[in-house]
Amino acid sequence: MFEAFGWNDLIPLLNGALLTIELCLTAGVIGSVIGVILGVARTSPRRVAKTISSIYINVIRGIPILVIIFFIFFGLPMLFPDLELSKFASAVVALTAFSAAYVGEVVRGSIEAVPAGQSEAAEALGFGYFRKLRYIILPQATKIAVPPGIGFIIGLIKDSSLVAVIGYIELTKAGSVVSNLTGDPITTFLIVGAMYFVICYGISLIGRWYEKRTGIHITSRRLRQPAGI
């Protein structure tokens, strides 16, 4: 009935790993763009922008990503019957919604970590809000944001395993399929885990190298929080 785990079974797993990377790249890039806007809005002097962004970030961070995935995949088509989202699109929307909130928090923390004197000096020199942001605050905040940003990418890759529940065949779902075919969950999921480990640990090494090279460590407790478990 079962065939033992063989070299051929690696192909769907490698394919799944590629889809995981594709998914995370898409959601990560779109989410980061929205996240930067949210983070800047949260530190802006405008009350309305601040409130909206803060509500969004706190609500998303207080709900498990699995519930968000279920909401996008099962809930949205009920609210908008004309909307037809593929599994990939649903996965991207859910992970983007999540990424935006986490990047928003990272950006907010990094902007706040830039010494207040920088902002005051820019104002004293007659810089307007946007010029101050563009030339003084953001370049410094970007450097601070790298280590927690890398933590966020690792969290995103790990959390992307959850889109397996809506049947999108990324790495974890590919693992389930191969495990059912071979009847060998231990070998299969050890390999799946090893693939995640290679991707995530590799990225974390980049982060360590950056911290060593620049001497920038995460000092703020807020920025140290991992994005996902």
Binding site: G75, A164, P185, I186, C200, G228, I229
Partner: protein
């Protein structure tokens, strides 16, 4: 489609039951994981090469792989070895092992943040060894660790939703049950999301309040 929350009323008990299971699993995994985390931290920072290598490896492996894959390995892998595990045991084991890796790193960061110079200063001033450990190491380290640990508790509570994938009857599982019986998917998910949000917000508030009360002694110092 008009939203109607009335259909959910008869299921209030099921949702609260799910919330209870989620919290219960989280509390046990947090307690067990924190103890295991202390051992991992001691192993990692200790003198034994073997122990420190094992602890570092454990921490990196659990922090760089998804919880879902860890749960699958336990839930589907253990029966392959002839050990049958229920979903609740699989979730408890998985969340505990996973949490231990994160708490170990929290302890490390908390203890490393206490400056060595303080201890040297204390001993130069003639403080006794036991007092130094208590007042100059453990108390400031506890204060560093506390907010990260409570935050980890909230993250773990949210992560317990992943247990629903291996059919742990916690809140997310209850939400999907209610959604499948009533076809009120949007309503069930939004009420469930609200429950998660309120509970994690209450936990965050509670932790901030406790922190303020517990560490009043440190308010003016920079230890």
């Amino acid at each position: 489609m008009a939203l109607y929350y009335g259909d959910l009323l008869p299921f209030t008990g099921i949702l609260l039951q799910g919330l209870w299971v989620g919290l219960y699993v989280t509390v046990i995994a947090m307690l067990a994981g924190s103890v295991l985390g202390v051992l991992l931290y001691l192993g990692k920072s200790g003198r034994s090469r073997v122990l420190s290598g094992f602890s570092s490896g454990y921490i990196e492996v659990f922090r760089n792989t998804p919880l879902l894959v860890q749960l699958y390995l336990i839930y589907f892998g253990l029966p392959q070895l002839g050990l049958n595990v229920s979903s609740i045991w699989a979730a408890l084991i998985g969340l505990t092992l996973n949490n231990a890796a994160y708490t170990a790193e929290i302890y490390r960061a908390g203890f490393e943040a206490v400056p060595v110079g303080l201890r040297e200063a204390a001993s130069a001033l003639g403080m006794k060894g036991g007092d130094i450990v208590r007042y100059v190491l453990l108390m400031p380290a506890t204060r560093n660790v506390f907010p990260s640990l409570t935050n980890q508790f909230i993250l773990l509570f949210l992560a317990s939703s992943i247990g629903s994938i291996i059919s742990l009857p916690e809140l997310t599982n209850a939400i999907m049950d209610v959604s499948n019986t009533t076809y009120r998917t949007v309503e069930a998910l939004s009420i469930g999301g609200l429950l998660y949000f309120v509970v994690s917000w209450l936990l965050a508030m509670g932790s901030r309040y406790t922190e303020a009360r517990l560490f009043r002694w440190a308010r003016r110092s920079h230890v």
